[in-house]
């Protein structure tokens, strides 16, 4: 049957578009903040727009932090979008205000250093080798709108040592003039946890393909 996907409804993000885009690529979608539905679905989408700290508060208010932890502990797929990706990192710093993230990945989300910010519009990516999400759309552009980003990604120490461990696949993008552009994490695929800084639900056909790749993996 169609994979059941919950889009977490915690008050942040243009969730209507996410729901429709996922339905379009074959998912059976429910928009809810219900903890049990969110834990039990085949896939969970964590959207997010606006400020990092506010999103974290909203997420915690519906116990979304626990939902994400429970799912990941059980190997159940989660897809973070935009600030829904940023909160997967250790912390965010906006306007000198520091906030804890979910800490799934090490690193800080902070302001992009570029002449024009927000980074708003369609940009290409350097898709990670072996990426499932970007299969067939490696060379397409996606719609970004953000002023903050993870500008480094720390791989765990045990990655090289342990052959059973698949290191996270990190997809990068840049913003700014050639030569001095800010480089940032555009997407991560790390076992059951995937995330994109851009908005696949607003990225036309390329975004639909990416979502379809994710839905098919559920």
């Amino acid at each position: 049957g169609r994979p059941r996907v919950v889009v977490l409804d915690y008050g942040f993000g243009n969730v209507r578009s996410a729901v429709r885009a996922l339905e379009r690529v074959g998912a059976d979608v429910e928009l809810t903040a219900d903890r049990h539905a969110a834990i039990e679905s085949d896939g969970l989408v964590v959207p997010g727009v606006g400020a990092f700290a506010a999103c974290m508060e909203g997420l915690k208010a519906v116990r979304g932090d626990q939902v994400v932890d429970r799912r990941l502990a059980g190997g159940r797929p989660v897809l973070g979008i935009c600030v829904g990706m940023q909160v997967m990192f250790d912390e965010g710093v906006e306007h000198d205000v520091r906030a804890d993230g979910l800490g799934e990945w090490r690193g800080i989300v902070d302001r992009l250093q570029a002449p024009v910010v927000p980074h708003m519009g369609w940009s290409g990516v350097e898709a990670a080798e072996g990426s499932v999400l970007f299969r067939g759309v490696e060379h397409e552009r996606f719609y970004f709108v953000h002023s903050y980003a993870a500008q480094s990604f720390t791989q765990g120490h045990d990655a090289a040592a342990d052959p059973r461990f698949t290191p996270p696949r990190v997809t990068w993008s840049t913003h700014g003039p050639e030569g001095s552009a800010a480089r940032f994490v555009a997407a991560v695929e790390d076992g059951p946890l995937s995330a994109t800084q851009f908005h696949p639900e607003k990225s036309g056909d390329a975004g639909a393909t990416l979502l379809e790749n994710w839905v098919r993996s559920l």
């Binding site: 606006g50 927000p118 519009g121 940009s123 990516v125």
Partner: protein, 256 residues
């Protein structure tokens, strides 16, 4: 990997119907904004903008429904402007499925509105629209441009360049700079004004007003526009989004 210069068709919507004639063939209903937005999406539009020109509150309610139906089937960003006065207006449009909201006159009367919207929803949702013209007899501003209201008929004496810079400081996520002198002339964007604002703001800048040929779009991109918006050339079928992008690409401008 540079971000592409966005090409944005704008549709004027009155009480749920597209205003002005439309030349598209194979449309079931050329007055339906949803169908037109979908068509622009197919042609490669990087975003679609609806400008609500309804005079009545009933018309505005209809607009929310139009936004909802558009978001159901158009998968590129949607900006909605016109008559937005409060954060609750913004909330209603975002909930219906708009990605960004255009604010104009209400922010001139009460600039704090910009900060209020940015604080509640994030600055990325707010496109500040500036209808500007060269100052005429009697008025002076430092930049030589002033902000107008009432579709360019009324001057305010506010310096347009300073206003754009202040709005960006207050929390506008981008500036839509509409030249009231060039608007409707199809003689090209006001590149000097564009350059003046570009040198003062570091948020994205959308050029609007005066587009007539593909070369005009190229010139606006070269003058520093991050996006180019047009209404009539697309409405009347004078140009397609694809033709504009081909010209930009040929001129070495990054496009999607």
């Amino acid at each position: 990997m540079t971000v592409a210069v966005r090409v944005i068709p704008c549709l004027d919507v009155d009480a749920g119907r597209v205003v002005k004639g439309v030349n598209f063939t194979r449309l079931r209903d050329a007055g339906d904004p949803v169908e037109l937005a979908d068509r622009y999406d197919d042609e490669g539009a990087d975003e679609v903008t609806f400008l609500d020109v309804s005079a009545s509150s009933g018309g505005r309610e209809t607009m929310v429904d139009v936004v909802r139906r558009t978001a159901e089937q158009v998968f590129v960003p949607l900006t909605v402007g016109g008559g937005v006065r409060t954060t609750d207006d913004v909330d209603r449009l975002l909930r219906a499925g708009a990605d960004k909201v255009g604010v104009n006159t209400a922010a001139i009367a009460r600039p704090e509105l910009i900060a209020e919207i940015a604080q509640r929803f994030g600055r990325q949702v707010l496109t500040l629209s500036v209808d500007a013209r060269r100052v005429t007899d009697g008025t002076t501003t430092a930049s030589g441009y002033e902000v107008t209201t009432h579709g360019g008929r009324r001057g305010t004496g506010i310096d347009a360049v300073e206003w754009a810079a202040r709005a960006a400081d207050l929390g506008a996520g981008e500036i839509l700079l509409n030249s009231m002198d060039a608007d409707g002339t199809t003689a090209g964007f006001d590149l000097e004004m564009l350059g003046a604002v570009r040198s003062r703001v570091s948020v994205p800048l959308i050029a609007s007003g005066g587009a007539g040929t593909p070369e005009h779009f190229v010139a606006a991109a070269r003058a520093g526009a991050d996006a180019v918006l047009a209404a009539s050339v697309f409405h009347f079928g004078t140009l397609t989004v694809g033709e504009v992008k081909d010209a930009m690409r040929a001129a070495g401008v990054e496009v999607r």
